[in-house]
């Protein structure tokens, strides 16, 4: 169940990328050393899924480890269950918060309801350990507006049978889950036909303005109280238990495992709801995590700018600079690769024949894969995983086609008489290419590069989905939090960046395209 929320597959949901603590330097260095996947100090890496509660739990784990003098970092909002699980098994992360129900159904694919011990044994065989429950059960629930529930007299899910016209807005993940909508409908014989898939955060707005009547939620969701929603009672006890635990690699250092075990049984539902509410209110996950460690101090309203010493400067201009720099690194590095690989491929393709067809065909096929799907396809591969590498690789592949095709076309468009003149003069093949053919095709090649650059700037916003940062961070956070201002904080700079890049390339045309071709 729970992936709670947000994140469903389709999604951009996520939350936040919010604050990466400490991280401007580490982001940049991760990027610079990208090919060598640095592992020097080997901190314990905690991952989290893309929704508020997971972020908060991730922060708590990181703090706990740090307090125990164990170097730790938190990779926030990496994705959904499968991505986190694969990252854990692949060693990209060492631990992440999970829910027992999700482990049973989504990871172990169990049809029955295994006990905690059974789950622990099964995970053990896969090289993964599990803490005891942290103390709260975050199960799925159906919710509706309290006023509407009272008006219709709905108290239990069975009561819904009497209202076949109610419109349901369910998250995509809930619609697809083995323990989600389909078995629920069967169990309760629900007659409703008007079911739409909707992002979790957006669903709350839809519920508030009446465009849907019922949606799925999870029981520790802070929005239930904030929006005065009614949790419809699961009278047939359909939803399994979703007790929060931490999963960790069995090979994780023993003192780190011991530290995580200190969290067992320390978080009840009331407390978790409160942390979630604080996180959503302040949009600061670290601060919400502080609440866990220092209840008294943290509950006092903080003035802004009072963040702890471990926080980097998070004023908007700084965040914007950080996102933009990262965005340019992602787009720029991948574009460079596209150019280095694309132009030679384009030269080969311009000669036609089978090789040319294969090259253009391959580049074309890559372009037809939706960018989200391409990211998802790369994530399970050994070298990639949840990393900047994956984002750069995907952007590189996307940038390839325009460059390859324009290089090939530009070369093929050179009139035969001019090619023959170059040959007849006695120029060597390399001199022909460098002095004649490439300069003559320069306009076409540059326009291919320009197209790639603009596409890359746009597509790079998706990199935030796999935690690679950039201007997609605020966009995805905003989508998750249903916060339009935050979305615009990323969307507007991304658009401006695309225009600037276009403009820079227009200037570059004047420098790089020989004057004789511009007459």
């Amino acid at each position: 169940m729970k992936l709670h929320c947000t994140s469903r597959s389709g999604g951009l949901q996520s939350a936040v990328g919010l604050r990466r603590l400490g991280s401007r330097r580490s982001l940049i260095s991760a990027f610079l050393f990208l090919p060598t996947a640095c592992t020097f100090a080997a901190p314990v890496v905690v991952g989290s899924k893309k929704f508020t509660e997971s972020y908060v739990l991730g922060e708590i784990a990181k703090r706990t480890l740090t307090d125990a003098a164990i170097p730790a970092e938190h990779r926030q909002g990496m994705g959904g269950t499968i991505i986190l699980w694969e990252a854990l098994r692949g060693g990209q992360i060492d631990a992440y918060p999970e829910y027992t129900g999700t482990i049973a159904t989504e990871i172990l694919k169990s049809d029955s309801t295994p006990s905690l011990d059974q789950i622990r044994d099964s995970l053990e065989k896969l090289g993964v350990g599990m803490t005891a429950p942290l103390g709260f059960n975050n199960t799925y629930a159906l919710v509706m507006r309290r006023s509407e529930a009272q008006r219709l007299g709905i108290r239990t899910i069975s009561d819904l049978q009497r209202y076949p016209d109610l419109k349901f807005g369910l998250t995509h993940e809930f619609l697809e889950r083995q323990d989600g909508w389909r078995p629920l409908r069967q169990r309760y014989s629900l007659p409703q036909q008007n079911i739409v898939g909707i992002d979790h955060a957006l669903g709350y707005s839809a519920l508030a303005n009446g465009s849907i009547a019922v949606k799925d939620a999870y029981s520790t969701d802070a929005k239930i109280e904030q929006n005065d929603l009614f949790v419809i009672e699961d009278d047939l006890h359909f939803f399994p238990k979703y007790e929060a635990v931490f999963l960790f690699r069995s090979s994780t250092r023993a003192d780190a495992i011991a530290a995580l075990r200190h969290l067992e049984g320390t978080l009840d539902e009331t407390r978790m709801i409160r942390l979630n509410a604080e996180a959503e209110r302040t949009k600061n996950y670290a601060r919400a995590a502080d609440l866990y460690f220092n209840v008294g101090a943290a509950l006092a309203p903080r003035t802004s700018g009072h963040s702890g010493p471990s926080h980097i400067d998070d004023s908007f201009p700084h965040k914007l600079a950080r996102w933009t720099l990262r965005h340019l690194q992602l787009a720029g590095f991948s574009l460079l690769l596209s150019i280095i690989v694309g132009i030679p491929l384009g030269i080969a393709a311009s000669r036609g024949g089978a090789i040319g067809h294969v090259i253009l065909g391959f580049a074309g096929v890559v372009q037809t894969i939706p960018s989200l799907a391409l990211l998802a396809l790369l994530v399970p591969l050994p070298f990639f995983g949840i990393s900047v590498r994956t984002a750069v690789a995907a952007l590189f592949l996307y940038g390839l086609l325009p460059i390859v095709r324009n290089t090939a076309t530009g070369l093929q468009d050179i009139p035969r008489s001019l090619r023959e003149s170059a040959v007849a003069l006695g120029l060597s093949p390399i001199a022909r290419l460098w002095q004649i053919y490439l300069p003559m095709a320069s306009r076409s090649i540059l326009s291919g590069i320009k197209t790639s650059a603009v596409i890359n700037i746009g597509t790079a916003t998706l990199a935030a989905l796999i935690g690679a940062g950039g201007l997609g961070e605020p966009i995805i956070s905003g989508l998750n939090l249903n916060d339009h201002v935050t979305i615009l904080e990323g969307a507007i700079p991304a658009a401006v960046l695309a225009l600037l890049v276009q403009w820079c390339f227009d200037l570059l045309d004047r420098v790089l395209i020989p004057k004789g071709l511009r007459l």
């Binding site: 008489s417 001019l418 023959e420 003149s421 170059a422 040959v423 007849a424 003069l425 006695g426 120029l427 060597s428 001199a431 002095q435 004649i436 300069p439 003559m440 320069s442 020989p514 004057k515 004789g516 071709l517 007459l519």
Partner: protein
């Protein structure tokens, strides 16, 4: 008289069409030989075979007594100048850079190339003021003069001209014809000139080679062709062209 270029049984076929039947031809040093014939008769094919823009299917071509092979062709190309109808100038290079392209490629000294450039611009009556211009900034006649300078830059032993004046208007064409003939004479240049215009052929030729459908029909002076046609096609071709010029 020695043959600078000698073709023996050279033939070229494209799929099922034969572009050139097995052909023998010798090009004498210091003479201008004109290849003439209707479109598709194989005259351009023959020219392109010599500079190896296309490869012959069989037969052999000798240049200066040595067989032309893929290994020596690039060196030989530097001893051959080649001018085509549209000039073949590279649009991204100035007139000057076009002319100097090969000299720079093979590392000739700036002084030597500069002097040669001055010589050529005088020879071809191309104003030095125009040298910094790009091809698109020149007229058709000026472009052909630059193309000729480029072909002559390395003092080639053989000059191949493939309808070099075909795209020019009559006045420009007449003045260029006159200049070209003077240049050939002055340089004692060996020339193989392709045209479909009989008057032009007569004006330039020491020997005329008439071709039709991939074969050489007759070779000789214009008098030979007129008075001793080897074939009814020869008379037909000559009469047809005369008819046009009378109009």
């Amino acid at each position: 008289m020695s043959a600078l270029v000698k073709l023996e049984d050279v033939c070229k076929r494209y799929d099922d069409a034969i572009a050139l039947y097995p052909t023998n031809l010798s090009i004498e040093s210091g003479k201008t030989m004109v290849l003439i014939g209707p479109s598709g008769c194989g005259k351009s094919t023959l020219l392109r075979l010599i500079i190896r823009l296309i490869e012959s299917d069989s037969g052999s071509i000798e240049f200066d007594g040595k067989p032309v092979t893929p290994d020596n062709i690039n060196a030989l190309r530097r001893r051959i100048g080649y001018v085509i109808q549209e000039g073949g100038l590279f649009p991204h290079l100035t007139a000057r850079a076009n002319v100097l392209l090969m000299a720079r490629h093979i590392g000739k000294s700036e002084e030597e190339t500069h002097n040669r450039l001055l010589e050529l611009s005088e020879l071809t009556r191309f104003s030095q003021d125009l040298l910094p211009r790009y091809p698109l900034e020149l007229s058709g006649g000026q472009r052909q003069r630059v193309s000729l300078m480029r072909a002559l830059m390395l003092s080639p032993e053989l000059l191949l001209l493939d309808e070099p004046l075909g795209a020019l208007d009559p006045l420009v064409r007449a003045s260029l014809q006159k200049d070209l003939k003077e240049i050939f004479t002055r340089l004692g240049q060996t020339v193989l000139f392709v045209t479909h215009d009989l008057a032009e052929a007569i004006y330039f030729a020491d020997a005329i080679v008439l071709m039709n459908k991939g074969r050489i029909v007759q070779k000789g002076s214009i008098t030979d062709l007129r008075e001793r046609p080897a074939d009814p096609f020869v008379s037909e071709f000559i009469n047809a062209q005369r008819g046009v010029s009378l109009q």
